[in-house]
């Protein structure tokens, strides 16, 4: 099917979904979960072909790991869909409501966007996740996965379609967008057909979509996250949070990438910090003052502070004041999550007010900036833009609103 026809079919399905009651959407999610489990053998076989092709193409081990499905991972996809069924339906929520002086009753009500396009890389689980989140929020989805997972994605979507059919919902509510590279361009310029595009993947993908899309985009995920150890920090806490934020899962966007240390505590903080980071296998890229505390420190270039390492690497710099720390973060932030460790109210107030990011943390690990940890139950990504949604995006962020105005004959004077 041509992309335009797919998008038109998605719009029709979206009109059905917009008026589908919550109970039926939940029944669909459970049916989709069942269908995935029943398809386990077929999913594994299809995925094995994708893996073989990837291996033959010399794809890296870490990429193949993302692409690989196992029985556990398929069960995880099914569980994810069932969890969505348990979450509150945002559609129909009244955000606010009031009555005007002339008796008009006005309500601002959550409604689905309509058709959401998701462009993502080689993770077949995103196909089920994103399709499920869009369905629960009343949106039709156009899923553009990587060509390297095409067989797995086709198998996943076949299972989701069986689930949709079994409850009488249109298959076109969740569609895989296949075809050559140009189809992605078609998606990005399908203004009026696609209401929202969400790229999920590396900085390159996201930047390409942002630069070329005329459809509204929500950017997700680049995180050059900083931790500032203030002069009044509890240094034990600072050590613990730094290690957690850097090493608990280094490959994700809310992992720590740069530590800034106030000069007054550098001598007490850095020797133990550098030793512990070394023990944890972290390579420290430090400025001259940091390097003075350990021979293992790699001299940092200015460009290192721009780096979202996503690996066991960490940039470290000693700063003369909180203002220098703020100024450094303002220069290098990607607007994701920025942390201060301090016991001083004055310092935390200043930091929270001055730093412009999706999340600003005081005395906690940036690894908590996540839809699950926030208690949202589901997450389509973490927005690092300011329009519409900022920070972890869950079901309510996948909706727009409309005003419903009820009167009894009012005209404007």
């Amino acid at each position: 099917m041509e992309f335009r026809d797919q998008a038109l079919a998605a719009r029709e399905a979206a009109q059905v979904l917009a008026e589908t009651p919550t109970g039926l959407k939940n029944a669909a999610l459970h049916a989709m979960a069942n269908a995935l489990l029943e398809s386990t053998d077929h999913l594994l076989a299809s995925n094995a072909e994708d893996v073989r092709t990837a291996e033959a193409n010399g794809t890296s081990g870490s990429l193949i790991d993302r692409l690989r499905l196992t029985e556990d991972r398929i069960a995880g996809m099914a569980d994810g869909l069932r969890q969505l069924a348990d979450l509150a339906d945002p559609v129909g929520d009244v955000v606010r409501g009031w009555t005007t002086d002339n008796g008009l009753r006005i309500r601002q009500v959550r409604v689905p966007f309509g058709v959401i396009g998701i462009i993502y890389e080689a993770r077949p689980n995103v196909t089920a996740d994103a399709g499920g989140i869009c369905l629960k929020s009343g949106n039709a989805s156009l899923l553009r996965g990587s060509s390297s997972t095409i067989r797995s994605n086709v198998a996943v979507v076949e299972a989701l379609h069986r689930g949709l059919r079994s409850v009488g919902l249109p298959e076109n509510a969740i569609q895989l967008v296949t075809g050559p590279r140009e189809v992605t361009d078609d998606m990005m310029t399908a203004r009026g057909l696609v209401d929202l595009l969400i790229p999920r993947g590396g900085a390159g993908l996201i930047n390409h979509v942002v630069q070329n899309s005329t459809v509204p985009v929500i950017e997700t995920g680049t995180g050059n996250c900083h931790l500032y150890v203030d002069a009044d920090a509890d240094l034990d806490m600072a050590h613990r949070i730094m290690l957690n934020a850097k090493t608990q899962r280094p490959s994700v966007c809310n992992a720590l990438e740069t530590v800034l240390v106030h000069k007054d505590v550098a001598e007490r903080f850095l020797p133990r910090a550098l030793w512990e980071l070394g023990e944890a296998g972290v390579t420290v890229h430090g400025d001259t003052r940091t390097a003075g505390y350990s021979a293992a420190v790699v001299p940092a270039q200015e460009a290192d502070f721009e780096e979202e390492w996503l690996s066991l690497d960490l940039s470290v710099r000693v700063v003369d004041s909180i203002e220098v720390a703020i100024s450094h973060i303002r220069t290098f932030t990607s607007g994701h999550s920025e942390t201060i460790i301090t016991d001083s109210r004055r310092a935390s107030d200043r930091f929270v007010a001055a730093i412009d990011a999706a999340a600003v943390l005081v005395n906690a690990s940036s690894r908590f900036v996540d839809g699950g940890e926030f208690g949202f139950g589901a997450e389509i990504g973490i927005s690092t833009q300011k329009l519409h949604a900022r920070g972890p995006m869950a079901l309510p962020e996948m909706t727009s609103t409309k005003y419903v105005v009820e009167g009894n004959g009012q005209v404007r004077g």
Copy 2:
């Protein structure tokens, strides 16, 4: 000054504004209002030059009317700024907040976008309005007005700057962007420097910005607004609302453009409706069935139903059912404001659920879809897009949010 330097200066000013207390912003708004009034003579003289140039260029009377300043209009601009001072400051509002199981205190707090670019046509009052709205919401503004109002806009911004200076706020918080046409392109691609672009003007301007901007855009204002007269309508009410929505101010986006009449009431509704519209000077472009009721009806082409007339013209069609009305609106809507007149709950429920627009009205004139009428006190425009803001946009819509996460040493397990 080059545009890039202006934008960098705006970013610096935005950092100041983001932390400026409400009282100081309000003092600035009053000082700006005073400065405008004190500048009345200079404003009138500068504006007279713009008007002379426009007249020499053969500009139409209605455009010259928009461009012209009078003492009353200058007083209106000053009043507008004072009213902004009376409105609640959205910055710092806690949208929601909760404590997680592990004791993290999370708040979602309203923060300014940073730098907002406004691109608008020949109305010098927009310069003061938009600058004031951005200031009150903590944003620096880059105002790109029409070249035909350049002298008036320079004079307005000079006055606003005097106001800002008098309370110690940076002048660069409100800047006029001048220079050749290419500067508009610079604004549209200033990703990272400009946080949001709002085009205010005709469909051509808005479409140009949407197509070419890599900076996030909020679309405002195209309104092909429909009114559906249901089989169960109170026909007196329908006549009254139709006339009001069409004729009270035909040139604005929430004015009525198309009437759809259920066939069962056509014979009772249309004769009087067509007579009243004729008396009010409205030209009716009607389908064949409508034309049967009056010789004055101009036969409608299909394209007439796409028309946002913005004049004393109205498209009228007789439909066989509410479903045909919904389907017509779905085809032709610009997503602004759609109205049903009915006494039937079933019909209004169906219409409200099925129609996807910024506002759906039951038994009231679409002219009420307006920030002032909604009670918002100020309006930067009416968004017809689904991302971030939909419908009348007031101060809260001019903000983003950030999450503030406070802990006492929490790390992720």
